[in-house]
Symmetry: C2
Subunit: 548 residues, 2 copies
Amino acid sequence: MKVAISQLNYHVGNIKSNCTKILGAIENAKQNNADLIVFSELSLCGYPPLDLLEKRSLLNETEKYLEIIKNNSNDIGIIVGAPRLNSESGKNLFNSAFFFDNKELVSIVDKTLLPSYDVFDENRYFQANDNFATINYKGEKIALTICEDLWEEQQDIDKFVNKNLYKISPMDILIKENPSLMINIAASPFTSSKNRIRKEVLANKCIKYNLPLIYVNQSGANTDIVFDGNSMVINSKGEVIKQLIDFKEDLQYIETKDINSEAPNERDLKGHIELIHDALVLGLKDYFTKTGFKTATLGLSGGIDSAVVCALAAEALGNENIRVLLLPSQFSSDHSIKDAEDLAKNLNIKYDIVPIKSIYDSFENSLSDIFAGTEFNVAEENIQARIRGTLLMGISNKFGNILLNTTNKSEAAVGYGTLYGDMNGGISLLGDVYKTEVFDLARFINKEREIIPINTIVKPPSAELRPDQKDEDSLPPYDILDYILTEYIEKNTSAEEIIANGYDTETVNRIIHLVNCNEYKRYQIAPTIKVSNKAFGQGRRIPLVAKY
Amino acid sequence: MKVAISQLNYHVGNIKSNCTKILGAIENAKQNNADLIVFSELSLCGYPPLDLLEKRSLLNETEKYLEIIKNNSNDIGIIVGAPRLNSESGKNLFNSAFFFDNKELVSIVDKTLLPSYDVFDENRYFQANDNFATINYKGEKIALTICEDLWEEQQDIDKFVNKNLYKISPMDILIKENPSLMINIAASPFTSSKNRIRKEVLANKCIKYNLPLIYVNQSGANTDIVFDGNSMVINSKGEVIKQLIDFKEDLQYIETKDINSEAPNERDLKGHIELIHDALVLGLKDYFTKTGFKTATLGLSGGIDSAVVCALAAEALGNENIRVLLLPSQFSSDHSIKDAEDLAKNLNIKYDIVPIKSIYDSFENSLSDIFAGTEFNVAEENIQARIRGTLLMGISNKFGNILLNTTNKSEAAVGYGTLYGDMNGGISLLGDVYKTEVFDLARFINKEREIIPINTIVKPPSAELRPDQKDEDSLPPYDILDYILTEYIEKNTSAEEIIANGYDTETVNRIIHLVNCNEYKRYQIAPTIKVSNKAFGQGRRIPLVAKY
């Protein structure tokens, strides 16, 4: 049986456009005499559809376009993912795989294990399946599963007890029917460690069940969630014999009877920073493509965060679509302006310099009575940041450029950013990238030529909101800060445990206090492209008024 | 059996403080010779604990304080809600009711039906219970359930199919053991229609099972979620014979053998607007109490939204804790300043007038080259709103006053607000209150004397960001707007259905388009106190880049 593996970039909610893509791939597969074409999980509506699933109109549209897909299944089998009405008690929908052939619906498989952690909320919408059967097709007996159904052994990052997250394993049930092939359709989002883990998990399944696997993921990003593709075919020994491209659409073919005889052919794993780079570029590009915007703006401070965002944006959107402002204040050092200008010139992007002192003076003047007798403090610092935010939003509103947020994860974590100021922006590129990783990204961006000025990389980071301010005056060195943050945010390690690992008690307690008391700022930040195991945003929900 | 019904206001995550409250109520109940005291769902950790439940340290603390509560169960039975470790496969925790007596754990009931819709995400954290037993105690056979377990018949607001949301009914199982009494512990949040519905659902259960019910809810607010209390005792005929106070803590006693002989004693239902008023005042008060802040600020425009927020804040926090700014521009009408001043005087709150023209001129001047050749448009309008936002945040940062957001639900829905401008604020009071309801709230606030100037109520609403601007120049009348919004947002009614109900096609399509294309603004708005069936915020999750 010749199987077409279709790895597409779906636009969430845009069923008509997704269907057009799907029909194009079917046509291609027919011309290549494929017996079966496989699309990924919820391909027709895109992932994650979230509360669009609560709209009956979305389901109606899904049903309409499924009919069209079914009518294109002459001469080819089609497996496509879509929501399906549950007419019995329980949640309204199933998360289903529809199997069409010869213009008929030949089988439906519903998802059993519904991930409900981090960014996943499938229990909110879907009823869990509880009946299981393999599918006979063109000489193969197929065990068809949906994403998590083949990934029931979740890591216990919560350090509670060592146990399975799920009470059943769909594949343990299906194996009793002696299938000849596993097919898994997925919507498996990118994290910088996911590539490696995903391959291990899937390979172990092939070994455990002594079966080959065709694994179909999607590529592309929907707001904060990036899909890295990397669909693959694994033989019964757990060796990857075919791997689709990462971060792009792809269509490849496999002859099932050859899977166990073909030579292993696995790409080398990209490095941590290259993966983050690729995910951010795709995430940004798709944010613009899918919202219909073309041009971006941001403020260049001469610092590393805005430099990295600018370079990534130029790569994702084209330098001609970026317009930046340099917004120096009386506290900006000479090198800041020069570094920012050098970057703009290196990238060949349009920039304007708008000094903020006269606007700041007008604020100071207007507030002089009210602020009389008080010291210069965070209030005046933040006014500068908010003037910059207002000027940048002026560009955004006047010319239709989306403002890019430049906050990194380390500063978002400890609240070193001004709400309604430098935390402004429609999408956050670095909000899930620690400061130490931002430096690595800058070096990666510079690997062929100096795009980001070396001085931007080597000088000590500073917000430049008062004279001679340096980040490390009030924060520990970034490698220590990022270690503490990773443990606390991504692994739920307690202060006591981090201290027991040899970190300074006062530092650890202070950093954790800062993380906790700045939840309110992050609540209002832009959506953040997720690259780590735990990003700020929809996948992390801390009650704001909590004391703990 | 004499039962103490303890309706307390819990602080989420603040286990030590919650435990102290619980112990105080136990002491009171002992002095009143109660046989049993009942606390509400997850009382020890507060509701909703969200991802704090992923911290092992929170569970450790819970276990420690449960031990203390257990050791206070000499001479009294205690039912208290808390998370509990699940050491078998499945989610890490159960949502449990612990029954202590005589310093021993005599029984545990785990929650079966885990709401996962709107603001609820219990499947994210909890494993569902699947074993059931009544509890014999002091001559009663108690069917003890937790919140949703007695509320399995959910309304089908999604218009999918008419069916039950859950596959089982815990009480249908427990009734087979012939219990003599139902006890339900709840964390049932306020909505303006919940009082009525809740009483009906519970009364119907009493009638169905021919059993009396002791229902224990909590009071108080945690960020966006308000608990209205209204714990009650219902007899086997479905009549309320005792009802605890609404929106406050309360402790009352009931002799179980008298439930079916006592006379019905149900409070009159408060009106829709009075309920919203009470919920907002409590929500705001608790936001400040639980975050440890005392003082608030906001801008008074002379319009109705800021006037209503100001009046509610003065009631919740005390007039001496509010400091406001009047921020007139060249487009502000004379009456705006007078109306705002009148309000400040009526409430006896401190105010300053800071005209924004000179700051606006400095922005215009700084942007003159960049904006050269363009027309005055939304860019300039928004700069005014952002100047105001920056000045107000200056007060907030300088004096520690939390900025109150004044956006109402109608304008948040259609995106008639400036991000990083008038959409600023730490907490939104009116973000779930439609404009038509804001007018009603103003009249309600004025019921005894004129607090909000009549002119503020009767003049046509305007953002005053350009000459002679009026809301209704570009929006339909607010009663029509609010109808369309309610249907679309709260009931997922499609455009076609709303039009079929007799509304103008172009208007309906335009409003729905505005709602959809402004999701990005609401993503960054402050947490919003929920009073409707569907508030913007955590309970409504629309993918930002979606097309639908």
